[in-house]
Symmetry: C2
Subunit: 412 residues, 2 copies
């Protein structure tokens, strides 16, 4: 593996690192960074459609609360997060018709830690978790870290990445299956699950008594008047459900590292709190900002949503106009997956950075292969994050169109 230096070149011996450290996947989104750096050095401007780092400003309420903080000592907070914040968060969830109390919530270091703690709490090494693919690539990493085995079930671009048929879940279930994980609205697909899909999922969860983990960090980003249905709305599986959340996208505050793990199952939360206590507390400044940001006026989100809808509409229309390109229109989040007339998305994305430029500009995309577990899946698909302003998106789409005309590995 290219990222491992041989220990033979070192002057001393060393013990071998863990099997999971070897097997741990490198970030598929970040592995093209060296090629991007080289392109920048050559003077090429790069439009970054490869990462979910929004260009939207963090709400002033968040930033001002941190700036005006008068702490003299930056102390540990409660291991579950500040109680004042958790109390107010209950009001936030209530607006989405999700009824929880502060003891159902543990504030975490980003949504990432919520996933980590949930996995440690629920799964033994070797347990299996079913995840519809393509899925957020880091689920692979968290599963590796917890020695949990991911069993992907394929969803397809032609149906816009709708939930795979329940029969596919039934086929994948073994005696080792202990949970199902979804992301809704979806990263990387932008797909928003319908009530009917979630009710169908509920029946499988109930029948086989599984944990249902749901990453719903994009709930603010649902479009076209479509309904956001949370797993917390499903009745009869309250003890099976864990909600994984984050303020990173909601308030464009990815660096604050504030997320939450939420469940009405007291046994889960009592156990999760022990993991939370071991790592002491979530970040203090992020909590101050996040608590203040709960006062963010609805108009902020209306503005953000309007902006993303116009970006989405422009990108989807542009993509589908290009010969041989197909991109379903997503109803949520700020990603889409497009099928391109290319031989290999990893090669294409690297070529865009290494060999292509149009007017000294190029575009950086995420090869979709990194979001699939099934080898070979997504070979001609890319994920596009529409996190740039319309002007930049226009230039990026021109680059992509020109690139597809001259790419040596094009297939039509």
């Amino acid at each position: 593996m290219f990222y491992i230096c041989s220990s033979k070149t070192n002057t001393t011996r060393m013990p071998s690192i863990s099997n999971k450290a070897v097997a741990m996947p490198a970030s598929p989104i970040r592995k093209l960074v060296p090629f991007a750096d080289a392109a920048k050095k050559k003077g090429t401007k790069i439009y970054h459609l490869n990462i979910g780092q929004p260009d939207i400003e963090t709400p002033a309420s968040f930033l001002n609360a941190v700036r005006n903080s008068d702490m003299k000592i930056v102390e540990y907070s409660h291991s579950a997060g500040n109680e004042s914040y958790r109390k107010k968060l209950c009001g936030y969830y209530k607006e989405y018709n999700i009824t929880v109390d502060p003891s159902d919530i543990i504030i975490t270091c980003g949504g990432s830690e919520a996933i980590e703690i949930a996995m440690l709490t629920c799964f033994n090494p070797g347990d299996e978790i079913i995840i519809p693919e393509p899925f957020y690539a880091n689920y692979n990493g968290f599963s590796r870290a917890a020695d949990v085995v991911v069993k992907p079930i394929r969803s397809f671009i032609d149906s816009g990445f709708a939930l795979p048929p329940i029969a596919e879940f039934e086929k994948a279930i073994t005696p080792k299956t202990k949970g199902i994980m979804i992301c809704n609205p979806g990263n990387p697909t932008g797909y928003l699950y319908t009530k009917a899909e979630l009710e169908a999922l509920k029946e499988v969860v109930k029948k086989h008594d599984l944990f249902l983990l749901s990453d719903e960090v994009y709930r603010e980003f649902c479009y076209d008047g479509k309904e956001y249905v949370s797993v917390m709305h499903l009745s009869g599986i309250e003890n099976n459900v864990i909600l994984l959340d984050s303020i990173s996208k909601r308030y464009s505050a990815c660096g604050a590292r504030i997320g939450a793990m939420i469940s009405r199952n007291k046994e889960i939360m009592n156990a999760a709190l022990k993991f939370a206590q071991a790592r002491l507390s979530p970040p203090s400044y992020g909590q101050i900002g996040a608590e203040a940001a709960l006062e963010t006026p609805r108009s902020y989100f209306d503005g953000v949503k309007k902006e993303y809808v116009s970006r989405r509409d422009f990108v989807i229309e542009s993509l589908n106009k290009m010969p041989g390109v197909f991109c379903p229109k997503p109803s949520g989040a700020f990603y889409c997956i497009a099928k391109l007339p290319i031989d290999n998305a990893d090669k294409f994305c690297q070529w865009l950075l290494e060999e292509f430029s149009h007017d000294q500009k190029t575009v950086m995309l995420a090869p979709a292969t990194g979001f699939y577990s099934t080898p070979g899946a997504g070979i001609n698909e890319v994920r596009i994050a529409y996190v740039l302003n319309l002007e930049d998106l226009k230039n990026a789409m021109v680059c992509l169109e020109k690139a597809l005309q001259v790419y040596p590995g094009k297939t039509n």
Copy 2:
């Protein structure tokens, strides 16, 4: 186990939580909190000597940097932490004669995450790690989370918790032993390892080709002119050594959640970076403060050290004057372990909160049993964190002395 609610009382079935979630120890330091809350409700003032939350102010450089931050978007940072911070950190370590470059450093969410990532990187489930006990209780939690088996080796109060004889390490080593972990200066003992002790440890590490993890977050707190020797100073085992660090105590900034995992072994750091990438980035505000705090003048630390030395001297002298009490004088950190003339430290600490008060005041201590892995060890020992001002410490020592006179379970 008292902390698990029975799932039978719930309306729906639920899958069972993981074995490690059940086995995960509750925080021994935080488990007395409900008794403290009840005492406070009765109007009793509690002197908190139970936790390592310093009362020292965070340096102004840190607080001002956060307050003056002009971020408009709180973005993800580099997964390994801001490069500007890592570069300057190299200068900080250089002052301690530790030569590292920025690629040897991953900034983590507190020292806790540094331990977590180091364990995931080095150890397979079932691997054994030797740790001299008493040790920082959360090492147990991190080991459970990573399915690593802790093999404690006993150190003793009579020798001030010096490193156990190397023969004891040799006896404890099995084919599954993959590492040794130490804390220097020590929490909970305050013991500062000598150069000779670390050189002896080096030979064992070399002979059996083990990882050596060293938690050195208290390096600023070494007293009486004694020398701080880091595992990073040991030559010939550069590829075996991992330094675990944190700014929590250094800058009295526990809530910032900024730590670091450091190794000169590129294979370790490449693998660790994959775990770091999966969780995206460390907290942005904490990094801003921590980078600015590197400018903290030496006089700040001189003042802090002087303060801790006078607190330590007062506490140790007071303790050793009490009949039947013995407390070795530590050379580092801000903890000591005292042997008391009592039947059971857990009972005693709870009794202090539930049944005792002197002039409406009492003291909260950490039973040392939580810092030992060996059952029954530390039964008559408590950890005292001298993190309060001298006036409060005086009152606390009066409380303790009076309490020992009337405690029903006293043994002399």
